[in-house]
């Protein structure tokens, strides 16, 4: 190589180029620099955009919070006002009720409305003495008011003994809310609060379920098909036909896979009790989407296993099946691992096929035979409403990007390792 290049170098340097030639060459080369720089610029601006818009929204709370808000109401068994010391670490904009020992500040909920956010509770605050006030089995069971919820209303007794309410229902700012309680009340009766919502816990769970189910279906079929094609199939027209058919799946747009899922596999999931698009349907569909990838990756892994290993096993009297399971597959394991990582990356990024087969309604407690959204579909879902929610969409995008990029880098590393192993 180096000899080649040195030769080339000498040729082009010693050749006397005219000024015109030189300038034309310069312009041409300049355009290649420009193109490559443009690619870097586009990648950079996507990253900057997503991280800038989404970084603020991305937090642990977002990951653990439900998407839909849930309303709660509690009555208090200890209603008396106490005397609490203002904590030292009060943040700017945070207000502390000295009578009831809790702190609030301004926050926003999933619908981007301003709310009164409960930020802290003192240890013996009456807020710990809540009992469920909603009719049902759990009525009058103790229910501690958690922090990080939206305080809709606190009903209190004023000096005249009348019951009044304070909070969001009276359009109080956090400051007015705390001042009203501390100045007018003698005790608190009940409280209405709701979770903030806008979280992605449900989508994360659905994504994990989808990944598990999909791999459960696509891996055995894909690996077995690859084994058939590489180890068993005779070289004839029929095998060629199978290969071409599998390759043709690669060119099918993913949205058509969505149509396919509904047209072919929906009856199968209906047998499991599904009445709507569901996670199982999404998994079967994704398994078909991933088949060509799994088969190709596995075959490539099988190719790297040296033939002498197979011959050794066969000559010792093992059957072909024994050889495949005990000798070939264990040696092809890193390649199969690559195909799993590639599959996971595809599942996380896929949206069009899943919009058809799993629906776009964000569900907090996904079930295998019910609607759900993956992270990618939740991005689409919050973007395609009347008011696109860029903050949430970009925050989820950060997560998706990080996962997908980490997977891709690990695939690269494993492949490099694999190539090294058999070259030695």
């Amino acid at each position: 190589m180096s000899k080649h290049e040195a030769f080339q170098e000498r040729i082009s340097k010693n050749r006397g180029m005219t000024a015109k030639r030189r300038s034309i060459d310069g312009v041409r080369n300049f355009f290649t620099y420009l193109s490559a720089a443009l690619a870097v610029f586009v990648l950079g601006s996507i990253f900057v955009f997503v991280f800038q818009r989404g970084a603020k929204t991305l937090s642990w709370d977002l990951i653990t919070e439900d998407f839909h808000t849930v309303k709660y109401m509690v009555n208090f068994t200890e209603q008396e006002a106490g005397d609490f010391a203002v904590p030292d670490d009060l943040k700017e904009g945070e207000y502390f009720s000295t009578k009831y020992g809790f702190g609030v500040m301004e926050g926003t909920d999933a619908a981007k409305d301003t709310v009164i956010l409960l930020t802290r509770k003192a240890e013996d605050s009456p807020l710990h003495s809540g009992v469920n006030a909603v009719a049902g089995d759990t009525k009058d069971k103790p229910q501690d008011v958690p922090t990080h919820v939206n305080v809709v209303k606190i009903a209190y007794k004023n000096q005249e003994g009348e019951t009044k309410s304070a909070g969001q229902v009276r359009h109080h700012t956090p400051q007015e809310f705390v001042e009203t309680l501390d100045q007018e009340s003698t005790g608190i009766v009940s409280m209405n609060y709701q979770s903030l919502g806008g979280g992605i816990r449900g989508s994360i769970r659905a994504t994990l379920m989808l990944i598990g189910l999909t791999l459960l279906i696509s891996l055995p079929i894909g690996i077995f098909a690859a084994i058939y094609l590489h180890e068993i199939a005779p070289k004839n027209g029929f095998t060629n036909f199978i290969r071409t058919s599998i390759e043709m799946l690669n060119g099918v747009p993913s949205i058509v896979f969505g149509l396919m899922g509904m047209a072919i596999f929906f009856p199968i999931t209906a047998a499991f009790g599904a009445t709507t698009p569901n996670i199982l349907l999404g998994a079967i569909t994704m398994a078909v989407v991933l088949l060509p990838v799994t088969i190709r990756q596995t075959e490539e892994a099988l190719i790297t296993v040296p033939d002498k290993l197979r011959m050794g096993s066969l000559s010792l009297g093992a059957t072909q099946t024994q050889t495949i399971f005990k000798v070939v597959l264990p040696n092809a394991l890193p390649g199969i691992l690559t195909s799993i990582l590639l599959s996971v990356s595809r599942i996380i990024g896929e949206s069009a096929a899943l919009i058809y087969t799993m629906g776009t309604f964000v569900v907090d407690n996904p079930h295998i035979t019910g609607r759900a959204t993956t992270l990618a579909v939740q991005i689409w879902s919050v973007m395609s409403g009347e008011q696109p929610n860029f903050e949430l969409a970009t925050a989820i995008s950060i997560l998706v990007l990080i996962i997908v990029l980490v997977l891709n880098v690990s695939i690269k590393l494993i492949t490099r390792q694999l190539n090294k192993k058999w070259k030695e």
Binding site: S12, P253, V256, L259, A263
Partner: protein, 322 residues
């Protein structure tokens, strides 16, 4: 065959039933492998049969939600699913899909080829890995993320561009936005195919050109590119196929016009895929089934595109490698 000369015979030690069992397992698994292979191959056929069947249904007599006119579907220039009775004409959608994919490839193709040439032939070795990674990362970004980027950034860019010309847009949703988005999305596809094609060009061709007195840049542009052109055009076709089939990202910025075709770059548009995704609520009825019909049209376009790879390879030729 050895005779029974000694007391000891190794055959007595061989348990025939175990061998038979092993052979039976061997056969069973071979059948399972075969079934897996056939099942995988069957999928593409099932897709054609089932999606095709469901998509044709609305045009057949006796269709439960009212038979549609196939001619009107194929030539119609209006798509109003909100009217009663709804009007489904897909011709302008096909035209708009072709326009946006065509514009995208006009923008993306030269940039992709030049980038590939830069990566393989011009960039210093140390930078090569970096730029290859950039292309790979662009390929790995999921399409929804591209969609969010387009809805947040490209729309604004297009909007200010329109204002510069004294035109207005629907908040940046436009044919141009779709084309720019698609140009970005097919860039890694074309580039990686072009990289492979350029890297496979025979070194001797280059040396020959250099020996004849061409400069290195002349060789790169005239010899290397034309030797690699069949691979490069295959990449272009692959990119076009991706542009036709791209759904979620496009549907975020298309705007879904009701009539067309849209010739104005700053006007909203409607592609086959954005039609299939817009207002998806019920999972039955005419409005749902007609999406399968649109799906067939999309499949046919993608198929024609893919088959033309073979044609292009034959007619353009290029120089066979090695």
């Amino acid at each position: 065959m050895p005779e029974q000369e000694k007391n000891f015979n190794v055959r007595d030690k061989i348990d025939m039933s175990r061998i038979k069992r092993r052979e039976r397992t061997d056969k069973i698994f071979k059948t399972i492998f075969l079934i897996a292979g056939i099942l995988s191959a069957l999928m593409i056929i099932l897709i054609f049969i089932f999606v095709g069947g469901k998509g044709i249904k609305p045009f057949l007599p006796g269709y439960e939600f009212g038979q549609q006119n196939l001619g009107k579907f194929l030539t119609g220039m209006t798509w109003r699913s909100d009217q009663n009775p709804p009007v489904y004409g897909a011709a302008f959608i096909v035209v708009n899909t072709l326009i946006s994919a065509f514009l995208a490839s006009v923008v993306s193709f030269p940039i992709s080829v030049l980038t590939a040439l830069f990566i393989v032939k011009i960039a210093p070795k140390k930078l090569r890995g970096f730029f290859t990674t950039v292309v790979e990362l662009l390929a790995a970004i999921p399409s929804v993320v591209y969609g969010v980027f387009a809805a947040g950034k490209i729309t604004k860019m297009v909007n200010s561009m329109a204002q510069h010309f004294g035109l207005t847009t629907h908040g940046g949703l436009s044919q141009l936005t779709v084309s720019i988005l698609l140009a970005i999305m097919i860039f890694p596809t074309i580039t990686s195919m072009a990289i492979n094609a350029i890297a496979a060009v025979d070194k001797n061709l280059e040396l020959g050109s250099l020996a004849l007195g061409a400069s290195k840049t002349q060789t790169n542009f005239k010899v290397v590119l034309s030797a690699a052109k069949s691979g490069i055009f295959a990449g272009l076709i692959l990119g076009l196929g991706r542009a036709f089939g791209e759904a979620t990202a496009v549907s975020m910025v298309a705007g879904n016009s009701m009539t067309g075709p849209t010739w104005n770059l700053f006007d909203i548009t409607r592609t086959l895929t954005s039609t299939m995704l817009s207002g998806l609520k019920e999972t039955s009825g005419l409005d749902y089934d007609i999406r399968f019909s649109v799906g067939i049209v999309l499949m046919i376009i993608v198929l024609i595109t893919n088959f033309s790879i073979q044609l292009i390879k034959r007619s353009i030729g290029g120089v066979s490698h090695e």
